[in-house]
Symmetry: C2
């Protein structure tokens, strides 16, 4: 094995401008391993190139995949699309400016001081990441999120807005317009505002596809504004559409720099020589680590508090894109790539013990940020700063893993600002696209989530039927299995038990329960 | 296969009082699979029993393992220990009361309104969980955390305290007293207070082992108070020691109920019949899912916003305890159990696609909470509430996984309050202890984290030497590999490069850098 330095000099990448470095010498492989993937890599690049040119890359849904156009509208295959993107960005800029200068006011005429984004999954993770990475006390507006259908979670958000509902803007985000969690959040928020005599529609904007149920509602009710989503942008890559840019712009974050960083990294990611293409090297590293068969999980460890949500963001991007039962040819492959992580050095005091000593199931991806803070640092030991320690801890964990022959990759950026966050988003978006191409899966659909939604609908239907049955037999007590029999849903006794138990613990339905277990529980309405 | 209902009736557990249920019918196994583990389970129970009685369960460090005594001091093998626990709890109660009623004031005589807990890993994750699960707007004090050595992260906490530093209490937590991240945070906080003319020691308390460097510092400098940690409580099980109870008590959280919930679940966890022992069933489920060889990762999905941090908390508890290179006999086993997760139904819109369709590498652990909120809920669809939807989404995902023969376990608790959080903590602590006993690893040490700390120390030393070298050769430019050669640390060229690059991006050292890559970068001091 050549020395660590020789490997590092050979197997690391830096762009000419110093915006991003990628050290893959920690993979502990020879160059030859990467070279063996060159053919695969070239065809993956060609596939991404075709996507950028407007091929229908998501044939299951008959859709183009255009998130790369968002930061470079000129790339899009249709001038109408380029115009729509530019128009939307201009509308965001204008609306933000109107909100900031008080031209757009709340229903009581107050300037908006904060917003609540109501959305889930791809409609929340991006804005949450941007807020956590780039937001702060000096922002134009404070950001809040409702990203679930948890009643207590709603209440906590409303609690934190107490006394300020009349200066709060509500941004309702759902591409399809029909996401139940988002719809529930919107209804609860509307109820809350109306209870205080406020007009929800005069404090709400929608981000959704044209013609969706949410779009129509917002139009009919006369919401403040509607911003488009497009069928050629998937939720998990929507952060640089209105979904991420509207909240960022309202906060006062430099959205142009976000776009510019992504556009810059896109340009790096088109290099045909893999040595010069950081997204491609990343994707190739993943493939070598996993054998294309999910052999290892990606553990993402940014050593920076501001990137604490990055792993959570990437979890959706990577796992929803790559976790597929079938490949594009229809063969059963059960592909996927597990991703988790948080922030260093905090995580050194958590699960690094297992990464070092446990099963060899991981590829640790460090993210190093060079700039420590704005302004000078004190010395904490007579010589070094807190930031020197943070840098040393990253290296320490990297070395400890290396000593146990555990692979690592390290991404280095100078700082966490809008430009470099945009860059990191592009870096991973492209790596995911390339990895999908190399493993032959469609990265742009999510067929596996439908079954759960259908089952949830059935569970609500079972609940309705069971409650109606108990209503009609007031005072009589029934086991779940009896109710199931009586309402003709014999196979749903378990579902009926779970849904009725939940109802019995809350006062919104008159359902009562005695007994705790499947064996003895009975339900009734008195 | 028997019907879903029959399996559920056979393979689910509920305690008599309705405090916790465990549905392991979703494992999709026969009773026989569990029965086959009965012998292993019995001996694991005996091992846990011996631990509770005071055996030296962590022989590597020559320590007893006593976190179970924290909620039931009478269990402890030594009356002196019982007295120490009781005395500490009384001291916490007294101090909190003194803070709340203004008897203990800040250095400027103000009542304390908020606190910053400075700690990392086991000294932060528990308090963060308790705060997120049980804290809220009505708390007696607002909680902040500094759990890293990230300078910008420190600044963000200080920013959020702007104008209120003189009513902020600092709780410095380090068992050993020597944790670098915590020490750095303490030094930065002290500097910040002193810059505003405040006295840190009159606003600080320490939680640490008697005689540690932190303990001595706090004593000499006359901090407000010192609370003990004990060598028989590991960091990852310290949430019910002063580490978790002091901040909780200051917030006004019912710490007695926390302890009571854990004590109650401990009592369930001693049942010798595995059918009646939820921690044991959980541990057996893990063993069946993993084959004792990390075959599957645990994906923890609480369907409740207040439990969003639970997976992060468990990640340390499970992975640091079970991720071990060697078993207790010294054989190389590379044991471990990967754990990640977040909250549902949010995660349905993230990685559930992969859990359903990807590789069969997971055991999903749902946590269901029956109580939706305080007060009534509106109907969102004419019949059902947001909470009904949340319950249905959990079931929907469970059914979708079952259709693909993916195993699940579901834990149900009535609500997220102090009692049930204590219960959940005990449930998993005991499951981890039992799983470790069944797989033969020491769950109470963490030998794998030392190497990283040593390497980090070496990295700082390399930095010091390199900076000194450049100082002595002012104006001359050197590549990292040359510096390494010159200072006699030829093998550390890579480390020197990384540490100098970090220094060059910050103004705290006079190091300059030209070039970006390993091949062309040079460093100098002018």
């Amino acid at each position: 094995m050549p020395s660590q330095w020789t490997r590092f000099a050979m197997m690391s990448y830096s762009d000419a401008l110093g915006h991003v470095s990628l050290d893959y010498s920690g993979m502990l492989l020879q160059q030859e391993a990467f070279k063996a993937l060159e053919e695969k890599a070239a065809s993956a690049l060609a596939e991404l190139d075709a996507i950028e040119k407007g091929t229908v890359a998501n044939p299951d849904e008959g859709r183009m995949v255009g998130h790369y156009w968002l930061r470079d509208p000129a790339l899009s295959p249709d001038p109408a699309i380029a115009e729509e993107i530019a128009g939307t960005y201009e509308a965001i800029r204008q609306f933000s400016s109107d909100v900031h200068n008080g031209k757009v006011k709340s229903s009581t005429g107050k300037p908006f001081q904060s917003f609540v984004l109501i959305g889930i999954g791809g409609s929340a993770l991006g804005p949450q990441l941007v807020n956590d990475a780039l937001g702060g006390r000096g922002d134009n507006m404070m950001a809040h999120f409702m990203d679930n259908t948890d009643p207590d979670g709603f209440d906590r958000t409303f609690d934190s807005l107490e006394g300020n509902l009349d200066s709060t803007l509500f941004i309702v985000v759902s591409k399809s317009g029909g996401t139940a969690e988002t719809k529930n959040g919107m209804l609860e928020a509307r109820r809350r505002l109306e209870a205080e005599g406020l007009s929800f529609q005069r404090q709400a904007v929608a981000i959704t596809q044209k013609g969706s149920s949410l779009d129509r509602l917002a139009e009919v009710d006369g919401w403040l504004r509607r911003f488009p989503m497009w069928d050629w942008v998937g939720g998990r890559t929507s952060v640089l559409s209105a979904v991420g840019l509207l909240p960022a712009s309202l906060q006062g974050i430099d959205t142009d720099a976000l776009l510019e960083g992504a556009r810059y990294c896109d340009s790096l990611g088109r290099a045909s020589d893999w040595h010069e293409n950081p997204s491609l090297v990343l994707a190739m590293s993943w493939l070598l680590a996993t054998n294309g068969q999910a052999k290892r999980a990606l553990v993402v460890l940014p050593y920076k508090d501001r990137l604490a949500l990055f792993a959570k963001y990437l979890q959706q991007l990577v796992m929803e894109s790559l976790g597929k039962e079938k490949d594009k040819g229809g063969a059963k492959v059960n592909q996927g790539l597990t991703l988790f992580g948080n922030k260093g050095s905090t995580d050194q005091h958590s699960y690094v013990q297992q990464l070092v000593e446990g099963p060899d199931h991981y590829l640790v991806t460090f993210i190093e940020v060079l700039r420590d803070r704005i302004g000078p640092s004190m010395s904490v030991d007579g010589k070094n700063t807190s930031g020197d320690f943070l840098a040393a801890f990253l290296l320490g964990t990297r070395q400890a893993l290396m000593q146990k022959a555990r692979p690592t990759v390290t991404i280095t950026v100078p700082e966490v600002n809008a430009f470099h966050l945009g860059l990191l988003i592009s870096l991973f978006e492209r790596a995911v696209g390339l990895y999908a191409a190399m493993t032959g899966v469609n990265a742009y659909n999510q067929p596996g989530v439908e079954a759960g939604k259908l089952s949830a609908g059935q569970a609500l239907l079972c609940l309705d039927m069971a409650v109606e049955f108990l209503h009609n037999r007031k005072g009589e007590r029934f086991a779940a299995v009896e109710i199931a029999e009586q309402i003709g849903r014999k196979d749903d006794a378990f579902t009926i038990f779970v849904m009725l138990r939940h109802a019995a613990y809350n006062d919104d339905k008159p359902v009562k329960m005695a007994g705790n277990s499947a064996k003895d529980a009975v339900f009734w309405i008195s």
